[in-house]
């Protein structure tokens, strides 16, 4: 049982080559903040990248940031904030939901779990912002892909290939991201008392307007009481975030209020409250209850998602709220994760995927944590894994049993 703490790319290559020669499976961790995520691993050895940390390039004028994979995300966010910039895709922090401290994730973990947040609708996820990677493959070879510029179609986009690979394809050693200035102003409009289906329609109207809504979420009454210190007073709240230059935000807010007048009065949240609210939604604070009660993260077409929740409620006790115009459901189960029921409903209502992001180790070992794939796609995934990690030494079984 060894944990390796490399300090250079050469050392990372050396560790992987050693693991290869021993045929010894090895777990890759950044800061380890998402270990409770995905299928549990039982490897004897670990590469912990927290010692491989530091910014290698930051040029605010060029909107580009590169850092070693073990660099804490929190450190990078602080650095960016000092120049008025941020990762536009707002990477969520799984810490609170998984019963850990906040602010522990690493840059490598951010890419390989493809983090994002409520701005996903408008700004995409980590995969949409990564510009380049350096990776040690399961062959013990260091390769690079991409670069430091936004427009680039030179060769296959292996940077995107690393996104959502959960450490099963290679060890990312250094990653380059596009960064952007933070919006000057922000506000949130709140519609009150809508049922889930009404909220889906209201959000669709808002997103389909020229109001340039950056985020749209719906919190049913019992969830609404668990954010921003109860300011929403436990009443179902449909939330529309507007960001940008102050005059534009004010103008769009007025436009949307008129557009949505038939849905009742529209309240406005101040900038500070709005920022906190979206951070809490991003980090799933309503379900950060210190328990291991199963939590699902379900991505579906926005106008279908509420139907899944309604159907599920007929047979099980569930707590749910919606982000991404309704298309992202965070679902907390009272008891059993009901994996088959959840996935059958995803398929019934237009498809998508359900990931069991929180559950006891026993459940995560017994159930497919990630949405099972149809046979030809599963076979393709297996072949891709084989091409990056032919001996299967990285995170065996993290995504799918046997891969």
């Amino acid at each position: 049982m060894s944990t390796f703490n490399p300090h250079s790319e050469d050392e990372i290559v050396e560790i992987v080559q050693w693991a290869l020669s021993e045929q010894a499976p090895i777990e890759i961790i950044g800061q380890g903040s998402k270990r409770e995520l995905g299928r549990p691993l039982q490897t004897e050895h670990t590469i912990a990248l927290s010692t491989y940390s530091g910014v290698t390039l930051y040029e605010p004028d060029e909107l580009v940031l590169a850092a070693k994979a073990g660099t804490p995300v929190a450190e990078l966010e602080a650095l960016l904030a000092a120049s008025g910039q941020a990762f536009q895709f707002e990477p969520m922090d799984y810490g609170p939901l998984l019963g850990r401290a906040a602010g522990q994730g690493s840059l490598g973990g951010l890419l390989t779990t493809n983090l994002c947040g409520p701005r996903r609708l408008k700004a995409g996820s980590a995969r949409d912002h990564v510009l380049g990677v350096r990776v040690v493959s399961g062959r013990g070879e260091l390769f690079k892909s991409g670069g430091r510029v936004v427009k680039n179609v030179t060769g296959y986009d292996l940077s995107k290939g690393m996104a959502h690979s959960w450490g099963t394809l290679g060890v990312a050693t250094e990653i380059t991201f596009k960064v952007l200035p933070k919006p000057e102003a922000e506000t949130t409009l709140v519609l009150r008392g809508l049922a889930d289906d009404e909220a889906a329609r209201a959000m669709a109207i808002a997103m389909g307007s020229s109001g340039e809504v950056a985020s749209a979420a719906h919190l049913p009454g019992n969830v609404a009481s668990r954010v921003i210190g109860g300011t929403l007073q436990g009443e179902a709240s449909t939330l529309l975030r507007l960001e940008g230059f102050a005059p534009s935000v004010a103008d769009r807010a007025e436009m949307l209020k008129k557009l949505l007048a038939s849905a009742g009065t529209v309240d406005t949240l101040s900038e500070d409250i709005s920022r906190n609210l979206w951070r809490e939604i991003r980090d799933v604070i309503p379900f950060a209850d210190g328990t291991e009660r199963p939590v699902w993260r379900v991505s579906m077409a926005p106008m279908e998602a509420y139907k899944l929740v309604a159907s599920l409620r007929m047979g099980a006790a569930v707590d749910a709220f919606y982000d991404w115009q309704g298309g992202l459901i965070w679902l907390r189960m009272e008891g059993d994760p009901e994996a088959e029921a959840v996935r059958a409903l995803v398929a019934k209502y237009g498809g998508g995927h359900a990931t069991l992001v929180r559950a006891s180790v026993a459940l995560r070992a017994a159930l497919p944590v990630f949405e099972p794939q149809p046979a030809p796609l599963a076979a393709l995934s297996k072949r891709l894994k084989q091409q990056f990690d032919p001996s299967g030494i990285f995170n065996p079984g993290r995504m799918v049993a046997g891969v």
Partner: protein, 498 residues
């Protein structure tokens, strides 16, 4: 084909041509198979017209089942396949091979579904880029990525090339606007990726497919994001005495948090060529001209125009005109949009390059290009997606002068080497194809390239799809799969572990 070596045609395949044609006719009856030489001529090149080659046979399927059967047949019979959309590739991605079936997707031209509440359109790959916008604009929607070829190019080709356009600075490239794909593997297996929902349950195959230049699979359906059109758009035309000042202006606009709907730069030769052609009212006494478009609510556009104007003046702009009407805005763009044909008027032929550089390197790269221009004795005009550093140098030459194409190609290769040297890349949006294939080692070493080819191996281990494109050398997958493992010692036993 000057200088370009394509994979050696397989005699065995060529000798089986009649059987292959018959098999394809059985799959796609009627007009769907084209095998007469004179009828195949229209397919012999794409928009990289310096290269042409007749295919073995052309097939134009109409259903996914047909595509699947064609590929399965080719797989089982070891026949190569080159996919083609509208044939507007500027890098030779759709260049036929003598011993390959050319699979033309233009009959997949239906819009399958428009779903406004979920802001998605499901279309067949042969639908043109502009065709999507046309289908949704009556509801105020559009499809954002807008390559200049949008009237003609297909959405399937856009996916294969990860195409961009003026709007991509603000709204992202094809990769950021595609939600789902249906594709057929060379084995004939049909795979669906994504859909109207976001992100993937597993590996990001959508990301790998976008920009894969027809080497991984054949796209048979595309789900794209559609967006509401901005309410207003206005443009500024800002001229500078030096490209350094123009470059600095661009950097400051972006640093101020302003992401224009489009931000294009032209250098003096391009300005003059365009002005002579369309009389857009461009200033002729400047070294660099920026066309900056701001879109969004009127209040925002007015606010930002003031900010941009101030940044321009601060950086020494000698001309700064703000569009006061839709006609004027269109006039500003007319010159930029006509830049290619305008250059076509002043030179019998031109090559369009496509490197990307870090923005701050622009003055250095422009100076380098001037030197190269003198060295090769060929003129060059530059249009430039300024916001994201994507250069389009147009190299002027005359194909009737012996060796001038070759000279222009060497000049182009030197420009791209310069782009890579300053931290940029070989191609920003036009793809590698055959044109930049042999330059790939300028950017990637053998390990990098081999890992990319291994992705290809996961999809198409026999290298039957579009061989000879993208990779200078396509190693056999079995060879790439071999591992050389050295029996190692425990690495650095003296470092602390947990």
């Amino acid at each position: 084909m000057p200088g370009l070596v394509m994979p050696k045609a397989d005699e065995a395949t060529m000798s089986r041509r009649a059987a292959i044609v018959a098999a394809l006719q059985a799959i796609v009856p009627g007009e769907g198979v084209v095998d007469a030489t004179n009828e195949m001529r229209v397919f012999e090149s794409d928009a990289l017209t310096a290269y042409h080659q007749l295919p073995l046979v052309v097939v134009l399927p109409q259903t996914v089942a047909q595509v699947s059967l064609i590929l399965k047949y080719c797989y089982e019979n070891n026949v190569k396949v080159v996919p083609r959309g509208s044939g507007t590739s500027l890098s030779g991605g759709a260049l036929p091979l003598e011993d390959a079936v050319l699979l033309v997707m233009t009959r997949f031209n239906r819009i399958l579904e428009i779903d406004y509440p979920n802001r998605a359109a499901v279309v067949q790959p042969g639908v043109t880029n502009l065709g999507i916008t046309k289908a949704v604009e009556h509801e105020g929607f559009y499809y954002a990525p807008d390559p200049s070829s949008q009237i003609a190019c297909s959405i399937g080709g856009n996916v294969a090339e990860n195409s961009g356009g003026v709007h991509c600075l603000k709204y992202g490239l094809t990769a950021n606007n595609v939600l789902g794909l249906e594709m057929v593997l060379i084995t004939g297996e049909v795979i669906r990726l994504g859909g109207k929902h976001l992100d993937s349950e597993g590996y990001d195959f959508l990301g790998l497919m976008t920009g894969s230049e027809g080497l991984l699979g054949v796209v048979t359906e595309v789900t794209v994001r559609i967006l509401q059109k901005p309410t207003t758009a206005r443009a500024l035309m800002v001229g500078f005495p030096t490209s350094e000042q123009a470059g600095q202006c661009v950097a400051e606009i972006i640093a101020a948090g302003i992401i224009p709907g489009g931000m294009e730069m032209m250098d003096r030769p391009a300005i003059h060529a365009a002005e002579d052609f369309v009389h857009a009212g461009y200033p002729l006494d400047v070294e660099a001209l920026l066309i900056i478009e701001l879109d969004g609510p009127a209040v925002e556009v007015d606010h930002l125009i003031t900010m941009v104007e101030a940044i321009g003046r601060k950086n020494g702009a000698t001309t700064c005109v703000i569009s006061q009407s839709e006609e004027e805005r269109m006039a500003f763009w007319a010159g930029r949009k006509a830049a290619f044909p305008a250059v076509g008027r002043i030179s019998p032929d031109y090559l369009c390059m496509d490197g990307t550089i870090p923005r701050k390197e622009l003055p250095k790269v422009l100076a380098g290009m001037r030197e190269l221009s003198e060295k090769y004795g060929l003129r060059v005009a530059n249009v430039f997606h300024a916001g994201d550093g994507n250069l389009h140098p147009l190299i002027l030459y005359d194909a009737n002068i012996p060796d001038e194409l070759h000279k222009a190609e060497s000049f182009g290769a030197d420009i791209l080497r310069l782009c890579v040297k300053v931290g940029g890349v070989l191609t920003g949006e036009h793809g590698v194809g055959v044109e930049k294939r042999d330059l790939m080692p300028e950017m990637f070493n053998e390990i990098d390239l081999n890992q990319q080819i291994r992705v290809k191996c996961a999809f198409d281990e026999r290298h039957l799809l579009n061989p000879g494109k993208v990779f200078p050398q396509l190693h056999r997958c079995a060879e790439l799969g071999r591992m050389h493992v050295h029996r190692g010692k425990v690495p650095f036993p003296d470092i602390p572990r947990f």
